[in-house]
Amino acid sequence: MMDKLLETFKLAIITLRANKLRSLLTMLGIIIGVSSVILLISIGSGLKIYITGQLQGLGSNSLYVMPGNLELQPGGGGSGGTPGAGTGILKFTLNHYHELTQKGTTLQAVMGYSENNGTVSYAGRNKTIQVAGVGYQYPGVRNQYPIQGTFFNFSQQEAGKKLIVLGKTVADDLFGNEDPVGKKVTLVDNKFTVVGVLEKKGGFGGVDMDNQVFIPFTTAMTTFDVDKIQSFWIQAKDDVPIEEAKEEIEKILLRTLKEDDFSVLDTGSLISVIAQVLGVLTIALAGIAAISLIVGGIGIMNIMLVSVTERTKEIGLRKAVGATPKIIMTQFLIESMVLSVTGGVIGILLGAAGSLAMRSFLPTTVSFWSVFLAFSVSVIIGVVFGVLPAGRAAKLNPIQALRYE
């Protein structure tokens, strides 16, 4: 029995090699499908690892207060089950900032945080980049310190001074070898004085984290003409349990805000929110890629049907010298499986190679289960889309098959 299977397998290889181009084109659908599924899953998991790592680097005592209800309800559903719902409405004022700073006994650092886009210019050079409005505690919280000059301090922040700290990339692009500290740059028609340049932090996924500038969040409010603070970035005291700090923040904010107006996320819950979003995204993208697997399967079925017709006479002869319908069925099933599995293996290799090439941007990993999944799917495709042609071959009447021209 094993001998017969091996023989059938060899025969399938010979047949497919005799039609190299055709076999390759037939496999293309599977190759593309499998490699994109592998690649997308590996990018998804790489992204997750990277972002999780970045967030964990912020320390376990960081808390984020965002507008809108971001709480993920277990099992989805319920009000605000979708992350990001209602984030458009800004609710935080300077009052909230002062209350958190003054009354938060468990809190070590409270920063207002905002993100805007703006054009920074110096000596005729322009750069449109992200302008982060942050608190004076930023270097300590982010663990990223100035390599030139200083960061702005508490009183400068409270006074809303027009001071700016540059990311390394921005400093290099605008100033080159010149020392930027003390120079004036223009941002949204305002002159800002450069007080420092932050050390390099590195990029991720093509986004350069050093390609932004930092101004006091109070200054950001006046510069971009908004009376609300986008969010708070808070650090709890080291000896305080994170839950306690979270409750205190909620208590303070609930005096003036409703429960649905804001969410307090700690690093852990932020990681789980992002992981969940990325997970859904990865599955959705991989699912779309998987559609091409079905297309590939149909391609295999199509070529197998052609092959059965072409080889009608051969099938008749095989039957005449003693092949049972089962043997013929097996022969064509194995052939379609060799097609789909070879395509699957090539796809896995290509996907893995692509994932390896992405390594310079992202810690992509090709997980065992995605390879296993891709491989099993190709086997299943070979069987499912091979059954119809193989069945047709097995059912051929030997006399008519022998006469077929």
Partner: protein
């Protein structure tokens, strides 16, 4: 004791609600070592008769007995086994599998018989050598002449040492000189003890056989 016996065999096809009687009450006994030619014009039913003898087809009624075993009501898989072990086919158009060596073509019935690779290579090679194709065993069908192809096909029919060799117009695609050579091979095989049944419409080919069965309208009309 006949190795093959047909008792009152009838074959009818249903064609457009018309009942087409192709074979009528065929009674036939074939003994070991016979050399029989089945002759008849086209449409006389000689192909159908050959298919029934070769277990490619089953009779509508009557019995086909192969060495005491009635095969007329067997399943397709069981018939395949009979064809594999008891019948060797030779066809007009050789029917070698393309892009497959002469050796692999001859090995084919032995694969289905379940022989291991060493044994079947040995047996297939022996038979090919016997037909003077020892230097051609790794050639593909398109690298062989018509006569050589038919000799490979005969080797394939013979390799399982079948009870009967069934040849359907084996010289039909060959020139007369090569055809004569092929007929000589059948005569030689018969002398060596093989039972040969030759289906042909050519009288001078049929005359090489020891016995001629003439078919007309599905009936045996002559038995020479």
């Amino acid at each position: 004791m006949p190795i093959l016996e047909l008792q009152n065999v009838n074959k009818a096809y249903q064609l457009d609600s018309q009942n087409l009687q192709v074979l009528k009450n065929i009674n036939l006994k074939i003994k070991k070592g016979e050399f029989i030619a089945i002759m008849g014009p086209s449409g006389s039913g000689k192909s159908t008769l050959m298919h029934i003898i070769g277990c490619l087809d089953t009779a509508s009624s009557g019995k086909v007995i192969f060495e005491k075993q009635d095969v007329s009501q067997l399943s397709e898989a069981e018939l395949a086994q009979i064809r594999n072990q008891k019948v060797g086919f030779v066809f007009q158009s050789f029917n070698l599998i393309p892009r497959t060596t002469a050796l692999a073509n001859v090995e084919l019935p032995l694969i289905y018989k379940g022989l291991d690779i060493k044994e079947r290579k040995k047996q297939a090679q022996e038979v090919l050598e016997k037909f003077g194709l020892g230097s051609r065993i790794y050639h593909f069908p398109n690298q062989l002449s018509g006569g050589e192809q038919q000799r490979v096909a005969i080797a394939r029919a013979l390799v399982t040492q079948p009870l009967i060799i069934l040849a359907d117009e084996p010289t039909g695609n060959l020139d007369s000189k090569t055809g004569a050579e092929i007929i000589k091979i059948f005569e030689y095989l018969n002398k060596a003890g093989n039972t040969v049944i030759l289906v042909t419409h050519e009288k001078d080919i049929a005359e090489h056989a020891k016995k001629i069965i003439k078919l007309h309208d599905g009936q045996i009309i002559g038995n020479i």
